[in-house]
Amino acid sequence: MELAVTTVVNGLILSSMYILAALGFAFLFNMLRILNFAHGAIYMIGGYICYLFIIGMGFNNWVALVLATLIVAAFGVFLERFCFRPFVGDFNRIVMICVAIIMILQTTVTIIIGDRRMALPPFAEGVLKAGPISVSYERIVTFTIGAVLLVVILWFVNRTKWGQQMQAIAQDRIGAALQGIDIHRISSIAFALGCALAAVAGCLMGAYLRLSPYMGDSMLVKVLIIVMLAGAGSLGGIFITGLILGTLYAALPVLLPGAPSDAVIIAVIVVLLLIRPMGFFGYEVEI
């Protein structure tokens, strides 16, 4: 019984982590129809910039988080202007440029900081004990921020002018331009937001899992799973698929040891994708 409760709690926590990391990627995929493979690297850079602010300059954790997010958002605008805007619609070149961005970011971090893993100081100390369960405040903070951001993004996309303009661009680029929507400006804003979300995830995750130049790689796979299962056109869907993935990752290692549980999870994902390739909450898109 206690094991079941712990597993459920673990599942919720893992889900919130994956959803938080997936928010930026899903946002860009839904709004701009761009698969930002560099998302993992940007997530990683956000964590490292936060680390530099905290350890190097002694700022408070939260101040460092905000600063890192702003810097990465600016970087996102730069990326959009020079790396993604020229290649809209050309999947091959976007894959190439993303690999180049990943390599450059990872190499820069390795050169400046080095290859060993290091951790950010936690955002919240202490452990909450409720009955048989004990959860660190750190994870509760992550969970809360993830949930809040998801709600904020959903509100932004559906209720604000900018969000609606982004939806218009996603539906029909040329039609949106004919309506007078400034495609470049809205794309820049979208990219800034997407990268900012990645940075926030990186900072929070950097405190929980160690920082490493390659932390983005494994997270990118989980993010891809969540977003592909949810499908294009549904930001709220990643909530459900994130829950599914988090629960799988929490529950299966209890039944099977390490590597086979990974294999089973991927097998389940592949079967789900074969059943419904366009995702459970989305529609089919061409990119």
């Binding site: 050309d90 070149r93 690999v99 390599m103 390795t110 390490g258 294999a263 061409e286």
Partner: protein, 332 residues
């Protein structure tokens, strides 16, 4: 394509027809004679790896000509490698038996798994194959005593008593045979059908081309050569690790193909050689060396979208534009 009045006249063209085979023949001769001049075993090792990845890259491009973009190619190399390794270690088969058998079984696995994936299109096929490739690595890691799990598979038989020069000629020969086979495949009737499916699957179906069957066939052929490359690698390296066939390895194979150019067989060959040999030349930069590869990627992405294979065309159209003035329209 350039405009008609810029084409050389007929007698000139047939005179120039012998240039291409001569250049290719010359390159093969140079590669065959290289070991005589290079004594460093490390250089030979790099070239052997280059030949192996060339086979995988060219077979990846073959699948791409049918309109599908698989992101699991390194995983199929891994399947071929582990099959050959396990057969060599546990069943004590000779390498000359394990390599073809592993390639055939990999082709079978590719076709079997290609069957459910054949109905996925474009992005969804790419994502599905991506997750499939990751799953293969997990399965290998979960293999326990059979595959050596995380720590890898040891004890695979070497060939030719471990002589690097013998390996070099073996892999050079293997690469040449594979490239010729895939070239003939591409320009055969089957290959033409594949290109038809890639251009418009609806029109192709209306002409009677069974799209599903041809897509599975393309994946099968591609996986055969991927398994071949992997099995050869297993007998060369004598040790296998699951992480050599993970998503990053697939991504690199994709880079070799895209950088070189999808348009022709020469594309992946050029891409593989450039992306392996140039960073090797700059190896002394140590941790800075990924910047070189990134620089190559950036140059090709921004300046040569069709890949390096289009370099002569790009240079020629730039030169003609400068000579004739900017008034001529080029469709290249």
């Amino acid at each position: 394509m350039s405009t008609t009045n810029l084409q050389p006249s007929e007698p000139e063209r047939s005179q120039r027809k012998w240039i291409k085979p001569a250049v290719l023949g010359g390159l093969v001769v140079i590669l065959a004679l290289l070991p005589v001049f290079i004594s460093s075993p490390y250089m030979l090792h790099i070239l052997i790896l280059t030949f192996t990845y060339t086979i995988a890259a060219v077979s990846l491009r073959t699948i791409v000509t049918s309109g599908q973009f698989p992101l699991a190619h390194a995983a199929f190399m891994g399947i071929g490698a582990y099959l050959a390794g396990m057969a060599s270690r546990s069943l004590n088969w000779s390498p000359w038996l394990t390599i073809p058998s592993a390639a055939l079984v990999t082709m079978g696995i590719g076709m079997l798994t290609g069957y459910p994936f054949a109905r996925l299109r474009a992005l969804y096929y790419a994502m599905g194959s991506l997750f499939f490739g990751i799953g293969v690595v997990y399965i290998i890691q979960a293999g326990g005593a059979w595959t050596g799990g995380y720590s890898g598979l040891y004890g695979i038989q070497p060939m030719f008593g471990g002589s690097k020069m013998a390996y070099y000629y073996f892999f050079l020969g293997l690469a040449l045979v594979s490239i010729i086979a895939l070239y003939r495949f591409e320009f055969s009737r089957i290959g033409t059908n594949l290109k038809a499916i890639a251009q418009s699957h609806l029109v192709a179906s209306s002409v009677g081309i069974n799209e599903g069957w041809y897509r599975i066939l393309a994946v099968g052929v591609g996986c055969f050569f991927a398994g071949l490359a992997g099995a050869g690698y297993a007998h060369y390296n004598m040790v296998l690790s699951p992480t050599s066939f993970n998503f990053m390895a697939t991504l690199w194979l994709v880079m070799y193909v895209l950088i070189g150019g999808i348009g022709s067989i020469a594309g992946p060959i050029i891409g593989t050689f450039i992306l392996i040999l140039i960073p090797e030349y700059f190896r002394d930069l140590k941790i800075y060396s990924p910047f070189i590869s990134a620089a190559i990627l950036l140059i090709v992405v921004y300046l040569m979208p069709q890949g390096l294979v289009s370099l002569p065309q790009t240079v020629r159209s730039w030169y003609l534009k400068r000579r004739k003035g900017k008034g001529i329209a080029h469709a290249s």
